[in-house]
C-alpha cells in the first residue's frame, strides 16, 4: 500500500493480504518508509518486508481500525475486525479470524485459554495474564459468546500460586472455568490440553478445532480484545527473552519486525554468543544470523552461550523415546522408517506427533528423532489431501 519515502503513522495499514491465508500489516511506529525489500524470519527466508525508519520527533496520531465493537459483537463483525487487525492465533499459527470462520462450519463447544508454557524459559503468557487478567477473561468471553461455545476454560500453571488466587477472584461470577495444571512439558500442546481437560483422544493428525475445541493463548485473546475494543491492529508482541548469554532476561514488549540484533542490543549480552534460538529450548529454531526479525508468532528469543555436539550412534533400542512420548508414538520406529524410506508408515501414525522434541532430548544415542518424525508427519500431511481428492 505504501511507497518508499512515504511517512506513516502508528497502526497505519502498510500492506494488504493477497489471499485469505495472509494477514495485513500495520506500522508499529511513526516514521518514514525507507525501503520495500526482504528479510529472513525464523521460519522463512526472504519474506517481503517494509522497512520503516522511526521518527521520534514526528507526533502522528495513532490510527484506529474503526469504532469500538459492542461488548458482545456478532461473529461476522468480530471476524472482519480480527482479520483487519491481523490477529494470528499462535496456537496453530493460523489467523484467528479464519479459525472463527471455520467455527461457523463446525460448531465449537469449548474455548480453552491457555497460559501454561512449560518449556523453559517461556513466561510471556503467564506474565500477560497476571498483568491483565480481566482484559484476557473479557476478550475470551467475547470470543466464546461470538462462536456460541458452551464452555470457557482458563488453564494456569499450578506453580504460580499467587496468580491462581488472583484469578479465582476474577473468575467469580464469570462463566470461565479455571484449571490449574502441573506445568509438565508438553502439557500446553492443544492435543494434550483437550485430552487432559475434556478427556478427548483426537484421532492422529486431527486438528483440535475440527473436534470442536478452540485453543487460544493469552496473547491472542488480549490482541483480539484490543482489536475489538479500541480498534488496535496487531503490531507488538510480548516476548520472553532469555538464555544464559542474555544480560537482562525477561518479558519485553517488542514491535513486530524488530531485528534480533536490536533485541540483543537492548537486553545486553554477557559471555560469548554461540547460538540464537527463536522459540523455547525444546522446539525453538536456531537462526544463522541476527538480522532475523521478530514476527507475530515469535514466542521467545534465547541467546545461548553453549552448544552441544553429541555425535549420534546407532539406536540401542533402550525404549526411552517410547516411555517419554506424550502421545504414545514409537519415535525409534519412525526414525528407522524414515531412514529406510518406507512408503507405508500409516501403522506408525506419524501425523499424531505433536513435535514436542522430548524423544530427541532423552535419546542416549543422540539421534535426530524429532526431525524424522517431523519429516514423516509433513509427508503424511501432503498425502492426505491427495488421497481425499482421488476417490
Amino acid at each position: 500500500v505504501v511507497e518508499a519515502g512515504q511517512p506513516v503513522a502508528p497502526n497505519q495499514l502498510i500492506a494488504r493480504n493477497q489471499d485469505q491465508d495472509g494477514l495485513p500489516a500495520h506500522a508499529p511506529v511513526a516514521g518514514t518508509v525507507v525501503e520495500i525489500g526482504q528479510v529472513d524470519t525464523a521460519d522463512a527466508c526472504d519474506s517481503p518486508a517494509i522497512t520503516i525508519a522511526p521518527d521520534p520527533v514526528r507526533r502522528a496520531e495513532p490510527q484506529s481500525l474503526g469504532p469500538p465493537l459492542p461488548d458482545r459483537p456478532g461473529l461476522d463483525e468480530l471476524i472482519d475486525r480480527l482479520s483487519a487487525a491481523g490477529v494470528i492465533n499462535t496456537v496453530g499459527n493460523e489467523p484467528l479470524g479464519r479459525q472463527l470462520a471455520r467455527a461457523r462450519r463446525r460448531p465449537v463447544d469449548h474455548v480453552i485459554v491457555n497460559s501454561i508454557e512449560s518449556q523453559p524459559p517461556l513466561l510471556a503468557q503467564q506474565r500477560q495474564l497476571a498483568e491483565q487478567p480481566t482484559d484476557a477473561l473479557g476478550a475470551a468471553e467475547m470470543i466464546r459468546h461470538a462462536i456460541g461455545a458452551k464452555r470457557l476454560w482458563l488453564t494456569v500453571s499450578d506453580t504460580a500460586r499467587d496468580l491462581v488466587r488472583t484469578l479465582q477472584q476474577c473468575c467469580r461470577g464469570c462463566p470461565a472455568r479455571l484449571v490449574a495444571l502441573a506445568p509438565k512439558y508438553p502439557q500446553e500442546s492443544p492435543v494434550l490440553l483437550a485430552h487432559t481437560l475434556l478427556g478427548l483422544a483426537l484421532p492422529p493428525g486431527q486438528d483440535v478445532l475440527e473436534a470442536g475445541v478452540l485453543v487460544l493463548d493469552v496473547d491472542t485473546a488480549l490482541a483480539a480484545g484490543r482489536a475489538a475494543r479500541t480498534g488496535q491492529p496487531y503490531t507488538h508482541r510480548v516476548l520472553t527473552v532469555g538464555g544464559d548469554a542474555a544480560e537482562r532476561p525477561g518479558c519485553y514488549l517488542v514491535a513486530v519486525g524488530t531485528s534480533l540484533a536490536d533485541v540483543c542490543e537492548h537486553v545486553g549480552l554477557r559471555g560469548p554468543l554461540r547460538r540464537v534460538v527463536v522459540g523455547g529450548v525444546m522446539t525453538g529454531l536456531a537462526v544463522p544470523d541476527l538480522s532475523t526479525v521478530v514476527t507475530r508468532t515469535t514466542p521467545a528469543v534465547l541467546f545461548l552461550s553453549q552448544s552441544w555436539h553429541g555425535g549420534p550412534i546407532a539406536c540401542v533400542r533402550c525404549g526411552a523415546c517410547i516411555d517419554h512420548c506424550p502421545v504414545g508414538l514409537a519415535p525409534a520406529s519412525l526414525l528407522s522408517a524414515f531412514e529406510l524410506d518406507q512408503s507405508d508408515v500409516s501403522e506408525l501414525y506419524p501425523e499424531a506427533c505433536i513435535e514436542c522434541g522430548v524423544c530427541s532430548l532423552v535419546c542416549p544415542s543422540h539421534l535426530p528423532l524429532l526431525l524424522a518424525a517431523q519429516r514423516l508427519k509433513a509427508r503424511a500431511g501432503e498425502r492426505r489431501p491427495a488421497e481425499a481428492a482421488s476417490p
Partner: protein, 400 residues
Amino acid sequence: MSRVHHTDPSQGLARLEVGSAPHLAPAASYTESVWTYIAVACLPLGAGLAVYGLGAARVVGLSTVAAVLTQRLIGAAQRQPGRAEFAHSAMVGLLLGLTLPAASPWYIPVAAGAIAVAIGKAAFGGIGHYFWHPAALGRVAVQVLFPEKLSPGLWAHGVNWPFLSRGHLLTGDLTRACTADHYIGWQETPAPPGCEAWLAPRPEQILRWLADGRTELAGGADHPLLAAIRDALPPWRDTALGLTGGGIGEGCAIALLVAAIYLMYRRHLRWQIVVGVLAAAAAAAAILPVRIPPAGSGDGSWLWLPALAWPEGLPAGPIYVLYHLTCGDLMLVACLLAGETVTTPITPRGQIIFALALGALTVFLRMYALPICAGYWALLAMNTIVPVIDRRTQPRVLGT
C-alpha cells in the same frame, strides 16, 4: 528487490551455530551406560576371584583383551574408529569372562572373546544391530567348540567342579583340589591338609539329577526332595554366596542382585527384566515336575508342583524353589545379561513377556535338557523372537 539488513553484518559478532531442537544438554549417552555396566560387573567378578582364586582374573582378563583386540582389528579394517564400540566390546568381554569357569585353558576365553565381538557383534554392524547377546553367543560357541574342556562327562555322574575351601579364599590353588567324603557345608567342613579346594558337582547339576529321578539321590524311603536337599545339595546359604562350583561370575547371587539394584537405580536396567526373569523361574520351578525314582523296577512317577511338597513337616518344596533361583547361570542372566537393551524388546510390555518366557525357559532347559549353559541358550532363543514380541507390543497411540 534488495535484501534488507537491519544491522551491519560486520559487527564483529562470532558466527552463530545452527542446530536442531531441543537446545539443551542431551541425555546421558549410551557409552555412560556401558561404563556403568563395566563398573558393576566388578562386583560379581570380585566374588568370583575370592571363590575361585586370583587365577580367575586370567580368564576374565584374556576374554576382555581378546574382545577389545578383535574390535581393534575390525575397526582397523573398517577405518571407523568409534570409542563407544571399544567400551562396548570391553563390556562384552568382561561379561563373557564372568560366564566361563575359572579352570578354563587359555584358548577358551580368547576364542570366546574373539567370537563374541567378531561374529556376535561386528558381523551384524556393531552396536545397535546385533540380534543375540554377544557375550551369551560367545559362551555358547565355546561350549559347542570345546565341550570336553568345559563340561567333562556332560551326561555322566561325577561331574565335579572345583572351588576354594575355607582358609584358602583368593590365594588358593584350584588344582590342589580333593573331593570331600562328608561335605556338610563350606563353613562347616574343614579342608584336609594339602587340599586347598573342593571338588563337587554344581548345585545346578544336582537339580538336574533330581528332575531325572536318579536313584542315588533318594535316601532310602525319604522324599526325594528332602533327600537331595539334605544329602546332595550344599546349604542354601552357600549357593546364595556363591561358595560352589560354576562360572566365575555366576555363583554369588547377592553380588549380582546388588549390581542389578544399582543399575536399576541409575536407570540403566529395567526392573521388568529382573523381576520378570526371577518370578517366572520361581513359578516354573514350583510347577514343573521332578521324577520320583522307582521303588523297585520301572520308570518311577512324576511329582508335579514340587513347591507344595512338605514332607515330614519340613518345607522342602519352597527351599527347592529357592535353590533354583540362586544356582547356576540364572541370576547372572537376569541381572547383567538379559537387560542388554539391543537384544530385548523395546516396550516395557514386551520386556515383561520376554523376561517371563526367559525365566521359565531357563528352568525348563536346566531340568530336562541342558545342565550347563541353560540360561545362555534360553537367552539366545528369546533374543531370536524379539522382533515377534516387538511387533505385537507396539505402544498405543493417543486417539487410535
